[in-house]
Amino acid sequence: MSTGASSGGPVNRRHFLRQGARTAALAGGGVLLGLLVGRTSARGTVWQIDPQKCVRCGNCATSCVLKQSAVKCVHAFSMCGYCQLCTGYFEPAPNDLNTGAENCQCPTAAIRRTYVEDPYYEYTIDERLCIGCAKCVEGCNQFGNGSLFLQIRHDRCLNCNECAIAKVCAGDAFRRVPVNQPYLLKAISH
């Protein structure tokens, strides 16, 4: 009995530990799987900005939990007028149409202006520099067609359960969208 007990005791403990480890591993795996599933298919949504509701309040630049906001300006080229005096790029009444900082809207020089043909220019966003402040978006909306607008870029966004920007969004423009359609793009209606 004692031998049996002594021989059975360690075997049982080992068995118990093995079983415990397996259970813990399974539980851990389950939790991990649950988290992954929660971020993708089960909940199946990500945060996005409705550009028709955005009021360019500036909170996207200052309220994201990331050091540099996951919100970036994007450009719907089909809506753009390719203006020589783009009010997304230039101050509303610039001294001159050149790249001098005093003439430009963007605080981080994230917009590149490229000559196309007289009098048209193309404007592209350097997302590494864009902080999502929406200054260009407001300039474009006030005077132009609104082809510049903000979107959450999902290569950066952490998809927090409670988005810090959504909490303070002045236009109530943040909403969850299906993960397989993660962007709300603007298009011109004829």
């Binding site: 509701k53 309040c57 007028g81």
Partner: protein, 358 residues
């Protein structure tokens, strides 16, 4: 011992009440801090685009004041015109609304599509521009004909009708189509042509407008170049005027003026978006004064307002009736206001305008 024990209890109670007080204060402080954080969306925007300096107008330059204000009775108003019969024709929605000069609806003409512009010929026929073609109605609003579309790219945004011709401003093709009264294209105006000295129309947003002067010449707004251009009906560019700039004499933003009208004496009324204002220029384009200031259109000039997607549901339009009365329509609110010359301030005289050839 008993005394000590009582003191301890008292001390305990004092300490407890202090603790509760501190906790309550802390809770209040914390909640107010949280509220402050939650309200941070209302804090001033450090990235706001400053336009106030453009919206301020020297009162001495303001020559007109509102005489009457009434609803345009139109959803999504686009353009309007005053006809020789003393009625206003308002384009928008899927109808042309006909109003008397006090704003009462006289008639409504249903249309097959969204109406982008309207013009009335001297004989009373009504021309309504859909996005890509023209519908013709008789004076009673009965359909007369539907003209052929110049193609998918067409985006009509202005119309003018004369005795022999109808001119359709097509922002999509960046051209003004000259039609005969039956709808046949006679020629195109504003196409880039270096040999004829025509620089070409630049139309960043769909606000191309055309007006026919009493001198038989056409005026077209080349908004991307911040100019009004004057053409013969055959398409020769006679002259142009206008400059970009934030000053009151210039046209602000990327693409202005978005609309204009001609006074009976040949002077121009111009409408701008972004900084919604109506100004008056001589027939040669010299700045004379301001008709309507941005503060009259608060909804139109409110920063951060959401924009509808087709780019042509903001700004202003203007027209002038046969008596020379100016009407201004706010394309955001749909309101129409008639304007009258301001009475001169005591000790001053009324503004004197240089007489232009009509």
């Amino acid at each position: 011992m008993r005394h000590d024990s009582m003191m301890k209890r008292r001390g305990f109670l004092k300490a407890a009440s202090r603790g509760v007080g501190t906790l309550a204060l802390g809770t209040v402080a914390l909640s107010s801090t949280s509220k402050g954080l939650a309200d941070s969306g209302k804090a001033p925007n450090p990235f706001a685009v400053e336009l106030d300096h453009l919206r301020k107008v020297d009162p001495k330059l303001v020559l007109y004041e509102t005489a009457n204000l009434f609803p345009g009775r139109q959803t999504e108003p686009r353009r309007f015109c005053a006809a020789a019969n003393g009625l206003l024709y308002v384009a928008g929605g899927k109808a042309v609304r006909i109003l008397d000069l006090s704003g009462s609806e006289v008639r409504s003409i249903p249309c097959p599509d969204s109406v982008r512009a309207v013009a009335v010929a001297p004989d009373g026929l009504i021309y309504a521009a859909m996005s890509d073609h023209v519908e013709v109605f008789d004076a009673e609003g009965k359909p007369v004909s539907t003209w052929t579309s110049p193609g998918e790219k067409a985006w009509f945004s202005g119309l003018a009708a004369g005795k022999d011709d109808v001119y359709a401003a097509d922002a999509g093709n960046r051209v003004v189509w000259r039609y005969d009264r039956k709808g046949q294209v006679r020629n195109r105006i504003g196409v880039k042509d270096a040999a004829r000295g025509v620089p070409g129309l630049v139309v960043p947003s769909p606000y191309l407008q055309v007006a026919l002067g009493r001198d038989g010449l056409l005026r077209v707004n080349n908004s991307g170049r911040h100019q009004i251009e004057v053409y013969t009906p055959e398409g020769d560019l006679e002259f142009h005027w206008g400059k970009a700039g934030g000053s009151i004499e210039g046209f602000c933003g990327c693409c202005n003026p978005i609309g204009f009208a001609l006074l009976p004496d040949g002077r121009h009324l111009t409408c701008e978006k972004g900084v919604p204002r109506v100004k008056i220029y001589s027939a040669q384009g010299e700045f004379e004064g301001v008709v309507a200031t941005p503060d009259l259109f608060p909804e139109n000039s409110r920063p951060g307002q959401p924009r509808r997607s087709d780019g042509m549901l903001g700004g202003l339009d203007a027209t002038v009736d046969a008596a020379g009365v100016i009407y201004v329509m706010d394309l955001v609110t749909g309101e129409i206001r008639s304007m009258k010359l301001k009475a001169p301030a005591p000790g001053t005289t009324a503004p004197q305008f240089k007489k232009e050839k009509a």
